[in-house]
Symmetry: C2
Subunit: 223 residues, 2 copies
């Protein structure tokens, strides 16, 4: 089974041109929360930018505001990034990599000999607690951005295509022919997207029922 990957290449993270004496964070304390003037890595900027993207939208992701948020000078941004566009590219890349990693891990750990288990794994995705909710919020924010930005749209399209391909593999493994597998993959993925977009429709118990029902429906052989 081919591992779906997003086409976006993954250049190694650039090494900061200058870096002052490294200052280890206290145990249990997030490095971002400490005085990070000297210990910031690109990932701190990417995480902060993603947070602002989710909470306030792409138009609020600005270098000077992020610098203030991270308690560093605006200039230090340029140790890591060419410009704002470069940061935005890395935000998308980070999201794409997380998507790819998730699919890869799923393929490695998942019961490849048991496609029904894989199907259930995929169906339960929207309900995996706070991490899933956080991932869904990031994804919706990136989709909103992608409506008006070609670079974001490309990342989203690639991510969707990779996940659809993974879903398709599951249905083929369940014995459906190529056409049926492609159709069912789209409907199952539609359901997952909708559980995120329509997350405020229905109670937790109704969502459980939907989740059980979708499994029966996408496995149903049509007359």
């Amino acid at each position: 089974m081919p591992i779906p990957t997003t086409p976006m290449s993954t250049p190694p993270a650039p090494v900061p041109a200058r870096r002052k004496r490294s200052q280890a964070a206290a145990p249990g304390v997030s490095p971002v929360a400490t005085d990070t003037r000297s210990t910031l890595v690109p990932e701190h900027w990417i995480a902060a930018a993603t947070e602002v993207l989710v909470d306030e939208g792409i138009d609020h992701v600005k270098v000077d505001l992020l610098a203030t948020k991270l308690n560093v000078t605006r200039g230090s941004f340029y140790w890591h990034f060419r410009d704002r566009q470069d940061l935005l590219r890395r935000v998308l890349q980070s999201w794409s990599e997380a998507t790819t990693r998730q699919l890869t891990r799923r393929l490695e750990t998942a019961h490849t000999d048991d496609p029904l288990q894989q199907l259930r794994d995929v169906i339960s995705l929207p309900f995996r607690g706070r991490a899933a909710a956080r991932a869904a919020r990031i994804e919706l924010a990136i989709r909103a951005w992608a409506r008006r930005d070609a670079m974001a749209r490309q990342a989203v399209d690639d991510g969707d295509a990779a996940r659809l391909a993974y879903h398709e593999q599951i249905f083929k493994a369940l014995g459906f022919d190529d056409h049926e597998a492609a159709m069912r993959a789209f409907f199952l993925y539609s359901y997952e997207v909708a559980e995120s977009v329509l997350s405020r429709q229905g109670t937790a118990s109704q969502k459980q029922q939907r989740s059980a029902f979708i499994e029966r429906l996408v496995r149903a052989r049509l007359p």
Copy 2:
């Protein structure tokens, strides 16, 4: 069959406090495109705000920018609206009314004695040409806004609930029990939402195939 409505009430459009000599637009020319200084009605502002919302996002919907766009003074805005928030409320109300109108028209004209025809009508919704594409773009923009705004979220939630209720009625009319109807309604609506969110996945011909397949799938009796 109850007509699903959005709970948002519909106060009559306020009459402009002052209005200069009415100036009829040339035939075939949109009134917005003419010198509208003297003929602007609230709907012009609402349409302009909706356009900016779709093209640039909610943060760019600003009274002074809209006034420039409409070629009128900023002050004339206050003939029609209390403030920006009031305009935003009317943008949502206008969208909600369009949603309700669409459902009502569907109930009136649709073959209420032929639920299968109603089902096909709903399934073909995402593919109704430019008007449908425009409606989808507005809706996605409002969904993006609703991620960060309680008032927009309420409008979106109400619209989703109304349409889910309509879908449910169709499945009941097709002979499914309440539980089955609710489940299938969610699944079918998921598909419609996804054809909008995932509109870049698949060719026109594949979309046709998905559309034909979903009809078979949501009508299938489960073992």
